[in-house]
């Protein structure tokens, strides 16, 4: 998809009539990672795949993916959770709510 920020809106003629936005879901192009001071890191071995971090994230930045994973102790999972680092704002809700403390917030270094 052509990125909306690359469009030319330099005069009113380029703006859709009525100021409508015919490009659904396009804020996804906006990266909000720079808001972050801390980054969540998920420990895949500790994670019990309870889904809570996914459900509580305000920025849909915990991704639920169909990726199999076997822990060193032999537990097998069909799904995994990953952090969408382009959109995570580092609020820390996921780490705070994780029942097994599988998420650590580490200082972001830029």
């Amino acid at each position: 998809m052509e990125k909306t920020y690359k469009r030319d809106f330099s005069t009113w003629r380029e703006v859709p009539i009525g100021g409508i936005i015919p490009w659904p879901g396009t804020t996804a192009e906006v990266e909000t990672h720079a808001w972050r001071a801390y980054r969540p890191v998920i420990n895949q071995d500790k994670c019990i795949r309870c889904r809570l971090c996914w459900v509580y994230c305000p920025d849909a930045a915990i991704l639920e993916v169909d990726e199999e994973y076997t822990t060193p102790s032999g537990r097998k999972y069909n799904i995994s959770y990953r952090v969408d680092l382009a959109h995570c704002k580092g609020c820390g809700i996921c780490a705070y709510e994780c029942p097994v403390k599988a998420i650590e917030m580490i200082p972001e270094e830029r």
Binding site: P24, V30, Y56, A60, H87
Partner: protein, 317 residues
């Protein structure tokens, strides 16, 4: 239909995100969690009428939008009026066979507490009274957040806002929160519920039911605001959960006038647990907190009497 079976466990919530990230809501925003899950239960053709406020300005910065549905930007006071008009127009178009009348297009109205309890109350009342087939969702962050934390009639007693400052005369908001549920109830509508982001299964199931109802429905969602409530970003869910555990907020569902508490709290926590983690209540003295505890006790007693059982128990810790 977005979701065609009851939401009973966390795994019933659809994985698909219909509300895009990259919006500019604050870190830890409760309303963002509300919107994410609300969008999950909608059909692709659902029409959203949105009153201005935080969610509206942070999700539709031209030329982008977080929404994947037809969505209308509104003024502050007319959310329910526009939603009513859209619903009436859909009916007329279907009657005239301009749109296929087997196609069911739902209208969902969304507004903040200011846009619902205060300036939009008149248009909301009209919409409920005329029995428009609209699902109305009010995300309640207990003040006018978008314009800089001014008090609304949904702001609770004692809370600091920029228009209820802390000084020698005024110690936060002197009036209690308005009861929007009883106002909605007075209209005799088929479905009314209170929901809370800390209880996602209950919340999404209520969204689904309110969406399915043929006629007006109202869902009042508790949505903490990190800068406005002066809370830590990671405490959003914790505060929402404490609201329920202390009885400040009761999870209700009222179907055809019949009330029920969906999340029972047999052993209640003292309200100080809820107040002490929020900066907006930092000025409260122990005696102020006792005053609020008495208000909560009265509210809980009223609810228990109404639902005919001890749904919310005594304070134990």
């Amino acid at each position: 239909m977005g979701v065609n079976k009851p939401i009973k466990v966390l795994w019933d919530i659809p994985r698909e995100e219909r509300f895009a990230p990259g919006h500019s809501m604050c870190q830890g925003c409760g309303a963002a969690i509300t919107m994410r899950h609300l969008a999950k239960i909608m059909d692709k053709n659902t029409i959203i009428a949105m009153g201005t406020g935080c969610v509206e300005v942070t999700t539709t910065l031209f030329p982008r939008t977080s929404w994947r549905n037809p969505w209308i930007h509104l003024a502050f006071e007319n959310t329910a009026a526009v939603a009513s008009g859209v619903e009436a127009a859909l009916k007329a178009l279907s009657r005239k066979k301009i749109i296929d009348d087997s196609r069911r297009i739902k209208v969902v109205a969304i507004a903040g507490d200011g846009g619902t309890f205060d300036i939009g109350l008149q248009s909301l009342s009209g919409m409920l009274e005329r029995r428009h087939n609209v699902m109305y969702v009010v995300y309640d962050n207990e003040a006018y957040m978008n314009t800089g934390i001014q008090r609304s009639s949904a702001t609770p007693y004692g809370a600091w806002t920029t228009t209820t400052p802390i000084g020698t005369k005024l110690r936060g908001k002197p009036q209690p929160k308005k009861d929007i549920i009883t106002i909605a109830l007075a209209h005799g509508i088929p479905y009314i519920a209170t929901a809370n982001i800390a209880y996602p299964v209950d919340m999404v199931e209520k969204f689904r039911k309110a969406y399915e109802v043929d006629g007006p429905s109202l869902v009042h969602v508790y949505s903490p605001c990190t800068p406005g409530w002066r809370i830590r970003n990671e405490h959003t869910i914790e505060v929402a959960r404490l609201a329920v555990q202390t009885g400040v907020w009761v999870q209700l569902e009222i179907i055809e006038g019949e009330p029920r508490v969906t999340i029972k709290v047999p052993r209640r926590k003292h309200v100080r647990h809820y107040l002490r983690i929020q900066g907006r209540f930092r000025h409260l003295t122990d005696s102020d907190i006792e005053t609020i505890q008495k208000m909560v006790d009265e509210y809980v007693e009223k609810i228990n009497k109404w639902v005919g059982e001890e749904a919310i128990g005594p304070v134990v810790e």
